[in-house]
Symmetry: none
Subunit: 416 residues, 2 copies
Amino acid sequence: MRAEVIAVGTEMLLGQVVDTNSALISRHLAAMGIEVYHHELVGDNAERLAMVIQQASERSELIVISGGLGPTPDDLTKQTVARVLGLTLATDEEALQQITHHFAVTGQPMTANNRLQALYLAGGDVLTNKNGLAVGSFYRAKHGADVLLLPGPPSELTPMLEEVAVPLLRQTYKQDEFLDSKVLRFFGISESQLVTDLAKLIDGQTNPTIAPYAKPNEVTLRVTASADDAGEARRLVATTIDQIKAQVGEYLYGFGDEGSLAQVVVKLLIDRHLSITGAESLTAGLFQSTLGDVPGVSAVFPGGFVTYANTAKEQLLGIPVGVVDQYGVVSAETAREMAERSRQKLDTDFSLSFTGVAGPDALEDHPAGTVWLGLAQRGKQPQARLLQLTGSRTQIRERSVLSGLDWLRRTLLAVK
Amino acid sequence: MRAEVIAVGTEMLLGQVVDTNSALISRHLAAMGIEVYHHELVGDNAERLAMVIQQASERSELIVISGGLGPTPDDLTKQTVARVLGLTLATDEEALQQITHHFAVTGQPMTANNRLQALYLAGGDVLTNKNGLAVGSFYRAKHGADVLLLPGPPSELTPMLEEVAVPLLRQTYKQDEFLDSKVLRFFGISESQLVTDLAKLIDGQTNPTIAPYAKPNEVTLRVTASADDAGEARRLVATTIDQIKAQVGEYLYGFGDEGSLAQVVVKLLIDRHLSITGAESLTAGLFQSTLGDVPGVSAVFPGGFVTYANTAKEQLLGIPVGVVDQYGVVSAETAREMAERSRQKLDTDFSLSFTGVAGPDALEDHPAGTVWLGLAQRGKQPQARLLQLTGSRTQIRERSVLSGLDWLRRTLLAVK
């Protein structure tokens, strides 16, 4: 089954508003096993809207349209759908009563065009709008494409879609195909390297499919399987994930939205009853702030140090000026001193330190992107690690923090 | 002049990612007086992408495509554009060198497919990617539609569009209408209040137009004027900004992308030769990290303290346990102690402190969103201020930092 998603609204075409409805609609259709090959966005213009609807009706079995159901003259969706597809519009009496009631209660005058919001595609289903006045509409065509009409404001569309339209579509199209999908998150490997390492697996696969996706400072893969029943789809995904793990498992740190590096690290610390602090120069608190964004982190994180200037390294951590002078602020020695001294000050099990050049200018003859990480662990010698990063100041700082978190993650996994 | 905007990426078609690029592109095209009638979104599928490009080339004079420029087998945009429009691809040697350099510096192996990222439409312009490896491309067709290719990740697309592509398009299409546009950034006033306060000004205006736009934790207005020459357009914008300032000037802190609150505050500190530190509980380094993102901040910011746990407040700042016990960690007294003691420790002119409840759980019977800010200033009594915020943990932490920055901004403006 193939669907097409159309958004209507000039404000989106001008770029003043981002269309988030189409992504939400697509997500729900994908979960039902309905394929979406096209999204279109058109303005409040009857002629161009008609063209897009006509094209969609020729290549898709279901057309989902959001926007243009309101009372103003530029709301044309229902009228245009009816005209292009040869359907008629009818008034839903219950919706009309609700509209009349709304104006009576709020004391606003009800203008005639508000009656338009009670129109639906005759012969189809009316979809109640619990956060607004314009009803939605679902029409099952005898020949050609079915049509689902939804209101534009996300606050109205979301409940109508999730509470009314999705159950109706599931019931109507009794899908014999079940989809399961999982996102795998990687760090420390480039997208191109990942795809090269997994080339045989990716090329050979049609079910599940394996799709790479790179976000800033992150590489992800989505594994999607379809099957006759939900259990089989899940099993297919799990088997493919095992195959992926066998090849690049050391870079895999988490799954889906709940699996950020910081969330994974904080969970490992909490599970193992281990505490953490930090001493940050170029990152200036970004590492600690990233930890601080994870609920429950207070159990393992008492606080720490931002030692941007050398004076602060001495005043807050007691690092002798001689060490920084002798080795330089961008050095393994300074990174190790920062990590170990901050760990001792707050008596934690671990500490991470960050010192380096965020840019745009070089420092001590080191180019922007030269970063030393330090890792101190109770009862062990502190270690240091060099990063050579590229990109903007923000990217270098973010990448430094993620590299530190990944180092910590790997270290924690080795702790029994 | 008519343009069409196409986004390429299966992850967006599945609804896993919302396409924000097309809106940004549209906004810039609109500002140049170029009309956009259609947005399309297709997956990483050569056949359907070819169909969409073919259709766009028949009805538009400029096609802007984002996404699908990367190194993996599902990145097909350049190859498909060349095939459909009868163009050839060439390798940009400078970009290839940059790619080779990136892999040499980072020590990752460079796989063959990375060379694809240096390809551009032969005979056209190469657009440098300062945040990634894939170059963009602009091709001026002798017959048919011009083509602009941009990378998909917003962190790469945004600077390439705004710093390279927009100036190139302006130069290429010498519009006989000159537009000038300025974004005004406000803090401490809601969008609805701003629009109400400026209602007469907004309703009466057609040139310049005044368009409000709310982002998370921020309210902006865009003032756009068109005129026969650039100077006149700038003059119209400046006059309207003066009218806006006369009514709501106290909430206006900056202009455009260079005018974030942190940038404005750091500039004020540098201009006045005043130094700053911080002591952060719920924000856990976010305030200092936000300062640290501004180039040049090292001149006024030596570092500071993350005092998440009460033990850290005592160990790092020397706040007697009795103070926290007596007044509570979420209190004006604790906020003032944190600010003044951190300021004294690092001997700075100012210090900001943050203590409160980020949530999701309440603390000391204070609901999530209860936050005390402390502000210490050399030679003055430290002050405290209560915030009552709503939203997620992340939103509460971010809003706290912005409120602190705005308090500091207003304080610094009063320093002669």
